[in-house]
């Protein structure tokens, strides 16, 4: 056998072995956890059980199923943690995060964080760890914050904590005023709302252009039209949404603009507006939020413009045709750092109750009731 033939066979064998081969990942080389030295949370254990890399054709798929056990090394109770997930070779101009809200971890206690990742990239050998996990922020029970806050996790963790306090207070008051049966009824209603909630898959592109879906027929064309927003008015909201429109074509909506009036004398620096989409068959879905950093003085007006394009698709495969758009105030951050969220009374509105997901704390309490029953729930609420 000549040298060239031997080389060819060796190359062919190597190529064949690369296709469809699964490799178990080495935790040390594939995952790097970088917490600052003065971090209030420290890593106790780290498990990559079941994680694997698979080469398929010209691409490599990595499934990382990691379990982190973290310890509260601070002297305060932790209410929420956000971890920043960086996968440099895989992420096309973006990053990921894993947050754990609705926590109540005492100093010295451990708590788990689960990170399940799937990554796909061309089959190129790279250097360094595949994934880096950094600490973006920790929120304590006194609403103080630690962390780099690269993902604005201070705001999101604080909003979740305020929602948790609002909902715990509501359930505690209900328990005191009307007893366990009333609380039970409220939770059953919450469970039912969770199950009845319509679900859609949502895609978004900031550049106003979404790739054509593979399933779309080549001749499908939906003419664009301008749809005006209608608004849900929350009585205690510090802002009023006065007008707005977006461009709609079939199941896509883009370039929303909304006019806003600050009803208070305090300046506002950030807004989160909820965005509900009504379809031709009468269904309504909370598609997402429209966040905006603003410099809005007291009693002043502004208009929020966005170039984003959003596409909705039904999980049942049925065609979604957007008919109308509804906006509402979801959260407001004032210039002095104070936050406004809708009151529990405002959320009693049947339309909002149907559309809005429960807070993370309500979701946790519902799960506790479903899994462990009323006694465990009452014990938790008495903490």
């Amino acid at each position: 056998m000549s040298i060239s033939t031997t080389r060819f066979l060796a190359a062919a064998l190597l190529t064949l072995s690369a296709f469809g081969q699964e490799t178990t990942l080495d935790p040390a080389s594939s995952f790097k956890i970088n917490f600052p030295k003065d971090s209030p949370v420290t890593l106790v254990t780290f498990d990559l059980g079941g994680s694997k890399a698979t080469a398929r054709g010209g691409a490599m798929t990595l499934d990382l199923n990691s379990g982190l056990l973290l310890r509260n090394s601070s002297s305060k109770r932790i209410r929420g943690v956000t971890l920043l997930v960086l996968a440099q070779d895989f992420t096309p101009g973006g990053r990921g995060s894993v947050a754990v809200p609705a926590l109540d971890v005492a100093p010295g206690e451990n708590f788990p964080v689960r990170i399940d990742l799937r990554m796909l990239r061309p089959l190129v050998v790279g250097n360094g760890p595949l994934v880096q996990v950094l600490l973006d922020g920790v929120l304590f029970d006194d609403l103080s914050f630690f962390g780099e806050n690269r993902l604005n996790s201070r705001r999101s963790l604080t909003v979740w904590e305020l929602e948790a306090r609002r909902d715990r207070k509501h359930f505690q008051q209900l328990l005191e005023a009307q007893g366990p049966e009333a609380l039970q009824r409220e939770l059953v209603a919450s469970v039912n709302r969770l199950q009845e909630r319509p679900r859609l898959d949502v895609q978004i592109s900031r550049r106003g252009r979404l790739p054509r879906p593979a399933s779309a027929p080549a001749t499908a064309y939906e003419p664009e039209r301008t749809v005006r927003f209608s608004f849900l008015r929350l009585p205690d909201a510090p802002i009023e949404l006065t007008g707005g429109a977006a461009s709609v074509a079939g199941n896509e909506v883009k370039a929303p603009s909304i006019d806003i009036l600050n009803k208070q004398s305090k300046a506002i620096r950030h807004l989160d507006l909820g965005w509900v989409v009504g379809t031709k068959d009468g269904a309504e879905f909370l598609a997402g939020t429209l966040p905006a950093d603003v410099q809005l003085a007291g009693n002043a007006k502004t208009t929020i413009l966005d170039e984003a394009a959003l596409r909705l698709s039904s999980r049942t495969g049925s065609r979604v045709i957007i008919e109308n758009l509804v906006g509402f105030a979801h959260a407001v951050e004032f210039a002095d750092g104070q936050l406004w969220i809708p009151s529990r009374a405002a959320l009693e509105d049947p339309r909002l109750a149907r559309l809005l997901p429960p807070s993370p704390e309500e979701q946790r309490l519902v799960e506790l009731y479903r899994k462990s029953g009323l006694t465990a729930l009452l014990e938790d609420l008495r903490k």
Partner: protein, 194 residues
């Protein structure tokens, strides 16, 4: 034309469906041949009989008839071309073989060059992820994903857990689920960089 035209030609002649030259030849024969003239007359009589009521009304007969006529003409011309084919002499065959060999060799050269270019370009491009479509974030039941068609990062939601998905117009997608073992809430989020 010394021999009688065959029945198919007579039928086509009766319906004026033969090519011009053939039509002229058959007409000359029919004008001097009583038997063929009788056949043509019978074909014309048949074609003039009312058959509309037997036809399926939903079928568009006119376009179908035109297509059939065109196919018949094509068939006749092809058969004439085959009949006119003459076997080449041994000297001509050698010339043809040589020409065929050159043609095959040229095609192989083009294909090899194309393959070589494709492989070379692929090797050059391998380390570079070419963004073929805009970067899109997506929130589904299985998790949140950021992808440009080549590179994908997905934060997955464990199967069969109730989840809430939403997106922000700033290019963020979020999914929230309850961990089955711990009862803890986890919020996975992907973001497009500013």
């Amino acid at each position: 034309m010394n021999q009688h035209p065959d029945l198919a030609d007579l039928a086509l002649f009766a319906g004026r469906d033969l090519p011009f030259w053939k039509q002229w030849q058959v007409r000359r024969h029919v004008s001097s041949c009583p038997a063929c003239s009788a056949e043509v007359a019978s074909f014309r009589q048949l074609s003039s009989q009312p058959i509309a009521e037997e036809m399926i009304p939903s079928v568009a007969w006119e376009p179908l008839a035109s297509e059939m006529r065109a196919n018949i003409r094509l068939g006749l011309e092809a058969s004439e071309a085959i009949a006119a084919y003459r076997r080449p002499s041994p000297a001509e065959e050698r010339w043809l073989n040589w020409r065929a060999a050159v043609m095959v060799a040229s095609l192989m050269a083009v294909a090899s060059t194309g393959w070589w270019f494709a492989v070379s370009v692929k090797k050059l491009q391998q380390p570079v992820a070419v963004a073929s479509q805009p970067t899109v974030v997506e929130a589904t039941d299985s998790g949140v994903e950021i992808s440009d068609g080549n590179l994908t990062l997905e934060l997955r939601t464990p199967a069969s857990r109730a989840s809430f998905v939403s997106v922000t117009t700033r290019g963020g997608a979020e999914t929230r689920y309850t961990d089955a073992e711990t009862g803890q809430i986890t919020v996975n989020h992907v973001y497009l960089d500013d």
